[in-house]
Subunit: 617 residues, 2 copies
């Protein structure tokens, strides 16, 4: 498609403006499926007769099914969150999802393919292979591979599984094919780069030693305690703790890296931690950099992590780098042109303005963030969730690996399980952590990637809309204040967004108690969420989170002090409760749309605050 | 529902006999969703204007989306497997799925809830909680719990995670709260039952030691090498190898248990293996019994495993028991009456005949199989996949645990993350292996469980239809032979089905080469599958598998000898290739339906065999 993509055409819409298009396409697809069923060996008789269809038990069963569906309908309509709303939902990472993905999912579900095995899903297995290559290409992996996962936690676990088994291979080589690693000390064996290990693994393959080698790797249960430490940002998402638990290295091997006041990993601190361990000959299993943190949307300086890795490599210290871009991964499309080339930073504003990525000719993209995205191409593996910034329905996670050869380190069958020529595994389940998986998910992601190309004119426009919306929201919040019965309540956003997430607090002017502020924000969340009252009538909906010392150290101190609290107060309370808005709405980028909703948000906030403050009297 | 369930009313149908009902309900549900969108703060303006909708880029984007969907449609219709067919698909474990589940999935997908967190999915989180309790109740767990997983591999991995972390707790207690395990030797600590460990864990909770205890358990990376061996049937599904690899105990700790000539675990051999290890003070981490093996549908004698566990417990040898009922789990509904009581064996035929579970008054259920299902209630955990015998679209796996307290062993947050009263976790992701998960899956499974109750009159009828179909197919095959240009080709089914799977071989009479027979069966598979020719015009479709010595030992020898091959021939060839039919069709239970398709299958087989044999001339 050469033409300008109009993303409004791709959603059902806040007021179901495209509802008729959606229904029309849905009916067409269902008809195509029904026609396919009827025309498979058309001479076969109808197995369900018209007579049976008029029988009493048939009618009763149908009625019963309708009653069950009516209850499903009631429950969903009563207890669901209206995040399709263009301008009233500013909460958790949820939003409308892409119409072509919902349609493709439903259509493919009618065949119910299982992508674990090609036999069960020829069409959708092919689509998943293409989607996997899309992921790899998006990340800048020239010789990579990828696939769809159940979710980001599973992708992260798979990344750690890769790291663990790869790191253990050189020790296995010492046993199985010592000639490959002759003369290397154990420390040196534990400090080979992923590329060096994969080159040696390939050589071992030429000698038919792969299976034996794998059986002596961490897969066999060997040497788990020798592989070293796994570094994750201090704000560690619990999926990383679970992963270290499950994978058997254990939480004792997880080292939290401090985050700065911008909520990004402190790479200088990381270097210091690694050097201290290296001095004691304790190796680094790997480092996780996060692109789009769950609570702040912060983008770690991946480029600094990569630079550190390269610097340490020269000193004989190696580490695996996994990028957890579950949330922010699709954002890389913003920086790719139609030839899949990374666009120079200084060209971004003009290109974006011309293509309508942003409605304003502004540089919304921080240079650090740009560099971080660029550097993902040098990481070993990356988590990317279509069901987050891909605007695809749950559940659709994903992972990409830099070097397709890595796949054989975790696989359970020899490469002959690949179909000749097709380059698609006959049994994908043998190459990934999971087993059965919905073919419909592959169709859903495939349809999205084909409708919105993974470049700045495709997905870039959708993600750009979300980013620009978050900036409008940030600018709106930072000057906001309320007069509630004589109390002045001010709004203070946390930091200017790296991506599309805006956190903020409401604070009563002149009240120096952090505990009071935390309570006020928690009360606000209760009012502006499912917790109290009727969800369907909420006029403004948010999420919330706590930044507490065990997870954040003193990173929030700059913000807390800026609000006028003392360090003593911070240490006493130990946390700050913030309102959290993942701004995924693709509609609030336009000035007039935002201006339409801004006073409505303000009014809703005013009412919530009145309810809270006046009820306490 | 008191009335007779008619399962034909619950599928779209071979020839889309219920296609109109499906469309009508789909449109109604979409309308209900659209109405809900429009009526959320109805005063808000339409964000997408009619003017925008007539713009050039809007129309082009819509057209482009339609073209993408047309390609999705073409691809699916070209390369999909017609397993909706009533009588022509006898292959992999695929079939039509339940209409209410497809509808509920699609409907719930329009809200795109994420069941990882209650905040993101109030309605569907509630449904998942109810479905989890359904699983527990189905398995006979009075104080159990359960939840939906991505698939059976993940559920199996979670089961092993439970076993590993629970087994490691007593060693942690020795460090953290030694008074609880005073006087116990290490061997005794490694031989406490799951119940004993959970009772001690509860006591530790009263002393606020839970977090410390967990941190010193296998979660911390401690003592993995002390926990002992993990026993799986020799036919070990590769998901169990992956699980042992991922969980860090390693493949070296996996002990294959021989299977008998009926492809069930040899429990006497298991006992011998365990005793040999116990004599060397090597503990048993756990044992996996399979209910519905992937290749044969075999049902292990779970009751014998449980009896062995109880006998060994008296001798101070303890083990965790996990039942992998990914495939056969829903079969337990066959044995439950409307009060959730297990029906006495001798009452089954009459009850089944009366309720229409079987169309013939026959005892299709082997007594061993009955006892095995009964005994699942005494296992510690069980995998059950709705997307297999639950006739629910992918992906929907599941797990149930016998003792709800086990949940806290693997959880990442204190129990206060549960909502007061509601008994539903605010963050389900903290209690399970995965993170984000589709709320739509919960709606889909919930709708199925409510439409077909989990007893013999609900799901029992559906599974009964599949079992009876498999018996008709088995009886049909066992007398079948073909004359192909002077060659007599005979059909030999493997064993009478434990559940609903029928494996068989075709063999040229008088040809004593096992290699030739294997080739003939492989060629037959190629013709009767996607491998050669046009899938959509195949008149009979099957799957296949190999029983090879590394995985099966000599279990197939009785069968192979019965075909007239020598033991020498078996050892030389080392495997037997069989045609595999997972009989999930719910239509072939009726005699006249089967008789309609039998000659068509025979004709298709005749044609495939002619193509194979004549082309070789």
């Amino acid at each position: 498609m050469d033409k300008n993509l109009n993303i409004d055409a791709l959603f059902i819409g806040d007021k179901a403006e495209n509802g008729e298009t959606f229904k029309e396409l849905m009916n067409q697809l269902i008809d195509e499926h029904i026609g396919w069923r009827r025309n498979y060996i058309p001479s076969d008789k109808n197995i369900i007769s018209e007579e049976e269809k008029t029988s009493e038990d048939y009618k009763q069963t149908t009625n019963h099914m309708k009653e069950v569906l009516a209850e499903v309908s009631n429950r969903l309509r009563t207890e669901s969150v209206p995040w399709h709303s263009a301008g009233r939902y500013w909460g958790h990472m949820n939003s409308e999802t892409l119409m072509p993905s919902i349609l493709a999912y439903t259509y493919a579900m009618l065949w119910n393919g299982n992508n674990v095995a090609y036999e069960s899903s020829p069409a959708t297995s092919q689509m998943e292979e293409e989607v996997g290559m899309d992921f790899a290409k998006l990340m800048g992996y020239k010789n990579g591979w990828g696939h769809i996962c159940a979710d980001g936690s599973i992708a992260n676990l798979e990344g750690l599984w890769y790291a663990r088994n790869i790191k253990s291979l050189p020790l296995a080589m010492r046993e199985v094919c010592p000639e490959l690693v002759e003369g290397k000390t154990e420390w040196e064996l534990l400090n080979l780069s992923t590329k060096e290990i994969m080159d040696l693994f390939e050589k071992a393959g030429e000698e038919d030693k792969v299976d034996e080698l794998k059986s002596r790797s961490a897969r066999g249960g060997e040497n788990l305690d020798k592989l070293g430490k796994w570094f994750v940002p201090q704000t560690k998402h619990y999926s990383w703790l679970k992963a270290a638990d499950i994978i058997g290295i254990g939480l004792d091997q997880v080292i939290p890296v401090p985050v700065n006041e911008d909520y990004r990993m402190d790479v200088a601190a990381l270097e210091k931690q690694i050097r201290e361990l290296s001095d004691k000959e304790i190796p680094v299993l790997g480092v996780v950099a996060v692109v789009g943190s769950t609570e702040e949307g912060a983008v770690d300086n991946v480029h600094e992590v990569i630079a550190l890795r390269d610097k340490l490599a020269e000193e004989g210290i190696a580490m695996y780098v996994h990028v957890d871009a579950a949330y922010g991964g699709y954002g890389r499309a913003l920086f790719l042109d139609e030839d899949n080339e990374f666009i120079p930073y200084e060209e971004l504003p003009e290109k974006y303005y011309e293509a309508g990525v942003f409605t304003e000719n502004k540089q919304y993209i921080k240079e650090d963030v740009y560099k971080a995205y660029e550097a993902i191409k040098d990481a070993d593996s990356v988590t990317i969730d279509p069901h987050k910034m891909g605007y695809i329905p749950y559940s659709a996670g994903g992972i990409a690996i830099k070097d397709i050869r890595m796949r054989d380190v975790i696989s359970y069958f020899a490469t002959y399980v690949f179909e000749k020529g097709a380059d698609i595994p006959a049994l994908l389940g043998a190459y990934i952590l999971e087993g059965s998986k919905a073919g419909a998910t592959a169709a859903s992601v495939w349809a999205a990637h084909r409708t919105l190309p993974l470049n700045y004119k495709g997905y870039g426009k959708l993600i750009g809309a979300s980013i620009e919306s978050s900036h409008r929201y940030y600018d709106f919040l930072k000057d906001l204040s309320f007069d509630i019965d004589g109390h002045t309540i001010e709004v203070h956003p946390l930091v200017s967004p790296d991506f599309n997430m805006v956190d903020y607090v409401v604070k009563e002017k002149g009240n120096d108690s952090l505990a009071d502020m935390n309570k006020l924000n928690h009360d606000l969340y209760d009012h502006a969420s499912y917790v109290t009252g009727n969800l369907y009538s909420k006029e403004y909906i948010v999420s919330h989170t706590d930044f507490a010392i065990p997870d954040y150290g003193n990173s929030p101190l700059t913000f807390v002090k800026g609000l006028g609290f003392s360090e003593e107060e911070w240490n006493k309370e130990g946390k700050v409760t913030v309102i959290r808005s993942s701004v995924m709405t693709p509609y609030m980028n336009k000035a007039d749309n935002f201006e339409y909703f801004a006073p409505k948000i303000k009014k809703a906030l005013q009412e919530y605050l009145e309810e809270i403050i006046l009820s306490e009297k």
